[in-house]
Amino acid sequence: MLTWYINPDDGGQAEIAKQCTEAANGEYSLEVSVLPRDASAQREQLARRLAAKDSSIDIMSLDPPFIAEMAEPGFLAPVPEDVAQRVTQNVVAGALAGATWDDELVTVPFWANTQLLWYRKSVAKAAGLDPETAPVTWDQIMTASKDQDKYLGVQGTKAESLTVWINALVASAGGTIIENPEAPADEITLGLETPAGEAAATIMGTIGKENLGGPALPTEDEGASLSIFQGDKGSFMVNWPFVWSATKAGVEDGTFDQALLDDIGWALYPQVTADQQTAPPYGGINLGIGAFSNYVDLSYKAAECIVTPEHQAQYFATNGNPPSNTTSYDDPAVNEAFPMADVIRESLELAVPRPQTPYYNEVSTGLQQTWHPPSEVDPETTPAESTDLITAVLRGEQLL
């Protein structure tokens, strides 16, 4: 009996567990156990239990930013070479980077997520923009929504989603939040006091100060962004692909008109400047095998079953979570459920992971403390403030 600790979803992982149990012919039986909804709460629970050498944790669905913290103290069982070779074939670049720590594959890539720019075709048309054919910049969508008195859908709440946004803005401006992620805590240097950090702060500060996100911005998460986007004030939104299946389900159960669905377009994440390629957010889930599990070999076997391209395609089509394996995108069911699958795949190739460091929680929380609320973000002071806070916290000189 193997236990697979999963993040809550629409039942897709439980279904895959059932199929793998059947396919194993009695060799193992895979049972899922659901972790808290919030990614940081999932990390808290797993890290505490692994620190206590919990042998009941066989397989874990891990959010990529927390992988370094789990790998560094040896909480993850090493990936056997032959398994590593098999599970990395045809995997998108972003997902491979996210599954690796210290140049070694430490988890099995499962699904890979990325944010797209979702837009109301009517609003884009009125602004003379065509994001489908020509990439748009943050300035363009800010101006368009301001001119038409609409709200931008961005995640300004003090949570992980704010870090996702900051990282994408800094990376799209050609910067990086941590310059030496593999350094010990007291030697980590941040790349925020740079033109890229300032560009990111300028965009976020302007959206906050000019109320372009609406009054909900300081508490707006992905779900709240979607509600605003679906409403009368909806214009442009950066968000994960779940928004498509959620809106489609809303149309099917009669909450929304088909006209809303027809008015929704999608494109690559906005650029910071017109001449620089965008760097969309990267998310998803990788599978880690608990170092203290009594069945490490069997667990890797089960993990290989879970991540087959067929299962990834099925998971995408039913639960809206995009595959990390490129061959899964050829599945007809995928293209039927997600007409934007090709854009997602392209976005995954461009996606930049959040800083990979065992001190990710400190970095992410430090950013959230200093870049919230968005209306108080100032390009002249915010990057320096967050650098000072995070550096002091990592040196153990300050609370967070």
Binding site: E44, P215, N361, T365, Q398, L399, L400
Partner: protein, 319 residues
């Protein structure tokens, strides 16, 4: 009765001890046998974790880096005590404690008076009904209040948009003042019943003859309340205040659910949680927990020594 016992000379006490009868001794032994196991369990589940936390607080210890554990003495305490975040969290915690206790005491006393005087026939039903908010799990009530005030899903903005300052665009959880208002309101809604029941018990202990005598002497309603009723239920009031103050000082759920400490609503328990559980910094987090514990001890000490709360007498009065 207790004051008489306190005044007994020590010599007399010793003599009484020496001259204790066999019966008294065996009763004392039986007492220890009966209470002993519970006492041991209490020590195991309270004293041990407290000592462990104090021990851990002297180390630089991160749960995900067990090999790097090192002795730092009181460094963690100096980091915490010199950090403005700690003092801000302490300030917010004290503000919430003081505000909720005062409002709950006034409201609770009003409710207790209504139940005691006005509606005697329905008292049983009323007591049960009034306890409903107190019976709701705090996390559940926190979510209920959060969703009621939330700018996207809430109904408060729509129901009360005729009130100046409230509009559909008011985001309650985006500023410190409005966030604290909702958090405090939720606390008050939930725990006023507790205070009102403690005070009702205190009220029913006040001998009716005293009040009648005062009335015959021509005392007004206000004079009877302030000169007869309140002094006679002081013990119950102080026990209610002490219990609620200790409870309110450890506030966690409401803040965690509604703002998670954003916009300057951080409280001490949340800071301890985020440090120990979120950052897995066991050493630093334990230091905050120990300081929180010392604050709670201080509140008890102030109540017992300065305001002379007699816990045993109060409990009898409240019971």
């Amino acid at each position: 009765m207790t004051t008489v016992a306190d005044k007994k000379p020590d010599l007399h006490d010793a003599a009484a001890k020496a001259g204790r009868s066999d019966r008294a001794r065996s009763e004392a032994r039986l007492g220890w046998l009966l209470a002993g196991p519970a006492f041991v369990v209490m020590l195991a589940v309270t004293l041990y974790p407290i000592l462990q936390a104090f021990y851990d607080s002297l180390f630089n210890f991160r749960l995900t880096a067990p090999d790097d554990k090192s002795w730092t003495g009181l460094t963690n305490y100096s980091v915490v005590l010199t950090d403005p975040l700690f003092w801000q969290a302490l300030g917010v915690t004290v503000f919430i404690t003081v505000t909720t206790v005062i409002v709950e005491l006034l409201l609770g006393f009003g409710l207790a008076l209504v139940m005691h005087r006005a509606i005697t026939q329905l008292r049983g039903l009323l007591r049960t009904a009034i306890l409903v908010p107190y019976g709701i799990i705090t996390v559940v009530s926190a979510f209920a209040w959060f969703y009621a005030f939330d700018i996207n899903s809430g109904y408060i903005n729509h129901w009360f948009d005729w009130v100046p300052g409230i509009s559909p665009d008011l985001n309650w959880f985006a500023q410190q003042g409005t966030s604290l208002f909702v958090i405090i309101m939720s606390e008050i809604w939930k725990t006023t019943p507790f205070i009102s029941l403690l005070l009702l018990a205190g009220l029913s202990q006040v001998p009716t003859e005293l009040e009648e005598a005062a009335e015959v002497d021509g005392a007004t309603w206000w004079q009877r309340l302030t000169r007869v009723v309140l002094p006679n239920m002081k013990a119950a009031i102080m026990v209610a205040v002490l219990f609620r103050a200790l409870d309110a000082f450890r506030i966690f759920d409401n803040v965690f659910i509604m703002t998670n400490g954003a916009n300057g609503t951080e409280v001490l328990s949340l800071l301890a949680y985020r440090t120990s559980i979120g950052r897995l910094e066991i050493g630093l987090g334990s230091a905050i927990s120990v300081l929180l514990f010392l604050c709670v001890i201080l509140i008890c000490w102030v109540a017992v020594k300065l305001f002379k709360v007699d816990l045993a007498g109060g409990a009898r009065g409240a019971g």
